[in-house]
Amino acid sequence: METKAIQHLYSRVGFGILPNEISSLSGLKKEDVVAQLFSKSREADPLKIDLAELDDFIDNDSRQKLSRAIRQELRKKSRQKIKDYNSAWISRLVTTDQQLREKMVLFWANVFVCRDNHIFHVQQYNNTLRKHALGHLGDFLKAVAKEPAMSKYLNNRQNVKEKPNENFARELMELFTLGEGHYSEYDIKEAARAFTGWSFRPNGEFFLRQKKHDTGVKVFLGKSGNFDGNAIIDIILQQKQCARFICEKVYRYFVNPRVNQQHLNEMVAVFYPKYNIEKLMEHILLSDWFYEDENIGAKIKSPMELLVGIQRIVPLTFAKEKQLLYLQRTMGQVLLYPPNVAGWKQDRNWIDSNTLLFRMKLPSVLLNDTVINVDQKGDFEDSFEKYYADSRKRARKLDVEKDWTIFDLEFLALDRDEIRESLIRSKIDGDTLIFLDTLTNLDPKEYLVQLMSIPEYQLC
């Protein structure tokens, strides 16, 4: 397989590939390289952090007996643990061998968007995404619908027979499966009835509150019957539009933000009606069009792709978790804290004057100890003082430890052009290329930082 194709593949289903790994793959056929990607991602490896001190939180029996003060304390700890989980997730992305699965998790987290402040439920949700990332869409949706975090986020917990809450049913169709215009307000009402009584226990297990569940006949998308939530999901999956809706998201994320209808149709034909996600991804990665020039370097990296991509070459240890959160906030993508149920908008929406400037400075901030003087916005919940707290210490450095071992091993032996080709996916602007050629006196580390600072590095 050609080097360029391998690099493209790994920049989309992962966070880049190192030179030695390319050499080990370049003798193989495309089919073998792709098969290897899938086999590495075969088994989902749940991401868990130590939550022993919070066990009382999820004990079905003792939870009721906790005093108000203790419960408050647990909630506070839980919020802190979510920040720890954010760091742990990023470390996972930096170190994982399962690039494909983890990239899919990141993708699904922005399709089935959810946010919660209960760490056990957050962790469970995240691992449900991991488990089904390459599975079947039907199983995936049914699992997501039963997740406590989702149940709270979209008010399905409040959805009861006497007074249905339509929030989950609406977003299930509008944002998770069909898209606007492919169902009626009546369908939403009927679907909401089918999900009534879906609830969970403190330990995160799903259970049906029989008395709150509406067992009557529902009429949904032209079918009528005694539907429950699972049946609703099955009927949604019968709509070809569902396959098209998901395939379009997959295409924009993994192939190109501008959709080629012919390729999309081809994907829909593969995905429908079995909804096997692995087969769909395999089809894309084995196609010729995935590797066409128009798709290479066509996508603007998400903040996460940027941050993780840098760290797969120079791993970093953040002494202060807060500073890692600061970077995510300033660039507009804090994992586990999506802005709303529609998720991050991606591609060009990552970019404005301020974020682009910051993103182009990021490599020197991380790797060269450059001072940053950009304050993050305060939180809604902050006091007046805290809201503006950062602005008093404008210029500051990040407290990060850099590990150059991988870089030394992988890049020191390469010449300038080789380093450049390994890092930059997009075509390089002619003038910028001329500029890069003038940087002959820089040592390789500095050259790396410079390369990561050109606009082309923002693309993958």
Partner: protein
Amino acid sequence: MKRREFIQRSSLASGTLLVPNFLKAVESSVLGGANHKRVVVIQLSGGNDGLNTLIPYTNDIYYRSRPQLAVKSNDLIKITDTLGFHSQLKPLMRLYDKGYLAILNNVGYPNPDRSHFRSTDIWHTASGSDEYLTSGWMGRYIESHGQKPYNAIEIDDSLSLMLKGENMNGIATKNAKLLHNNMNTPYFKKILNQQTDQHLSEHNLGYLYKTMIEARSSAKYIYETSKTNPSKKQYPDNPFGKQLKTTAEFINSRLDTQMYYVSMGGFDTHANQVNTQSRLLHIYSDAVETFVQDLDDNGTLENTLILTFSEFGRRVQENASRGTDHGAANNVFLIGKNLKKPGFFNSGPNLNDLDANNDLKYDIDFRSIYATILSNWLGVEQKSILRTSFDTLDFV
């Protein structure tokens, strides 16, 4: 093309970013055309408690709902038979007396959302509560009018959704010099100075270069136009005062900016609200009064409209922690010299008629306020920016 526009565009195009002083004078006195007007939007972030800001001091329900928090009728500034300002709002009262202040009560939208994030998004994008838009109303404004990042400025270091368009965005800065310096490190200079225009047609790569180049020229324009105009006013020494001072310096330098956005934090008063809110209202009204005077002294108040909102009001009923939780409709302040109906635009909240959640109902859709600002104040067509036409109100 109008003469003023021609002067501005040609001077920008030729790289002479400073509009000579005599032209500035000409512009503001003779050619005060519609699009020379500007709006400053201030968000009281976190959700200001409107009921303790403008107090319905004769209302029993108010006093019954808030045994700990209600402001006593002898501890406020009475304005009408039923409503009074919080005692820390004396500066605002002075603006009210001058006829510079209009108060719109019960502003909100259908099916209110009680999440800070979501409700802020709704206000920023001018969407309904069931729509998720990717652009803000200010962003869409500059996309159809002006087309330069500096046409809308947020006084902060990062840009909010309100100023993001589909294909172009406003710019954020609370320190023009710093932004300018950041854009002019030797490295960026080298990368960008060499750019010829050929790559600008490339899809995303072109977009990145274009964004960088525009960002740099906007930063230069903002810095060079405003650096000679430091404010002579003494602003309250706090970060919000500083934001407004910077805003005044930009406005008084006659930047070609029609929209400014400032966010003031701290209003999420779930616990021990009384002292916190008093301080905040003091900081807010004190700084705003100085700001208004500063503009007035420089002849720019005439063309400036200041809108203050919160993403939501708070519950009528106080909570158990001497605070209030997230509510719905709230009051909005409009400040300016050209108000058609200064004072109270409509009557205060009806506490006898609350929504299903026992929160205040709205009478005025906030998008009607935007619609009025766009069509009556800035003189542009509202529909392309708000996507549907909303009734305009008779405040400007």
